[in-house]
Symmetry: C2
Subunit: 168 residues, 2 copies
DNA sequence: TGGGGGGATGATACAATATAACTTTGGGGC
DNA sequence: GCCCCAAAGTTATATTGTATCATCCCCCCA
């Protein structure tokens, strides 16, 4: 169900099919960054929140809230849906994870702490979802909204299809 | 709950705050187009499907499936969730409505029968959701996907914020 | 030092969205 | 008449997400 360290997959925008991906390091980096950011912002990355962040980061596939709950329950018997949704809400508010709307699922944010708008490439075959940051695309969104006299607050861009690995 | 004929709101991409919108005519056009398209394609726009299409078209706000169910039940006592979801699935497959993923709700398609990829501007204040078709934006999406060696099958672009009317 | 406030979590219940699986209906072709 | 098939009926359940109130715990500070 969950990907572990040895599974090789691509790691960054526009750089598919390169060297294997050390996912443990990937998680560790994300957690360390999250700790630093929460420290900076004087918000609490509590044990539950950190655990949920870790669970979401265990793969590069979006994870459902109840899947998070299952995992969390193993170490935290008292966990219930609100436990998970509160943690997810916190992590989203702090920009540490994203919600993938078309899947009702959650994904670790690869750009935590950096101002950005991201887009997602969701492979329907392997489930791997890549976060990309494309300023041109983002500008095109802003321009389109502006033409319609629309004030943008939130952007959802999710592209579903086949990743290079699965199509190739 | 539902908007009726006299409610004026803007009607097309990039043309906010113009003359009142005759929504009855808007619905009628959509239904007529749907009939013609289904005829052409030899698929059945059954009474239930047409009624659901009409319900979705009653406003320019996305409508939830259970809201559709409530309305449908008034004239169709046997209606149940599968009744509605089947009709919605059919209408989506035929390109007559769209699902707004970030709201889990459904919206009439203003470009039925024309090949297009659309984007949505969702006003958080009044709920009105405008479908726009912006080829530049669409190209930017394709270009971004291509750079990541990703084969696009479906695109979800939803921008939430304030429409001109509500921001102004 | 103990009382109050607030953020986080516990706990229970439920709401909202969506699908599975099997049955029945009805119209068209043979 | 009989079969076939798409559509709709029917029942049950799965999945996703919230509301609400209680409790805990830490920090502040009078």
């Amino acid at each position: 169900m969950v990907e572990h360290r040895t599974s090789p997959h691509h790691s960054g925008p526009g750089r598919a099919a390169e060297k294997p991906h050390d996912h443990d390091a990937c998680i560790d980096t994300a957690i360390a960054r999250a700790r630093a950011l929460c420290e900076e912002r004087s918000v609490q990355l509590t044990p539950i929140r950190e655990k949920v962040l870790q669970i979401v980061w265990r793969s590069h596939k979006p994870v459902g809230a109840y899947q998070v709950l299952d995992e969390l329950s193993r170490t935290h018997k008292a966990a219930r849906p609100p436990t998970v949704y509160r943690a997810l809400d916190f992590l989203i508010a702090e920009g540490l994870i994203h919600k993938i709307e078309s899947l009702n699922a959650y994904l670790g944010c690869g750009e935590a702490g950096v101002a950005h708008t991201s887009q997602f490439l969701i492979c329907r075959s392997c489930g791997t979802t890549e976060e990309i940051v494309d300023p041109k695309l983002d500008q095109a969104l802003d321009a389109a909204a502006k033409r319609a006299r629309f004030t943008v607050e939130r952007k959802v861009v999710e592209i579903a299809g086949l990743c290079g690995r699965c199509a190739g």
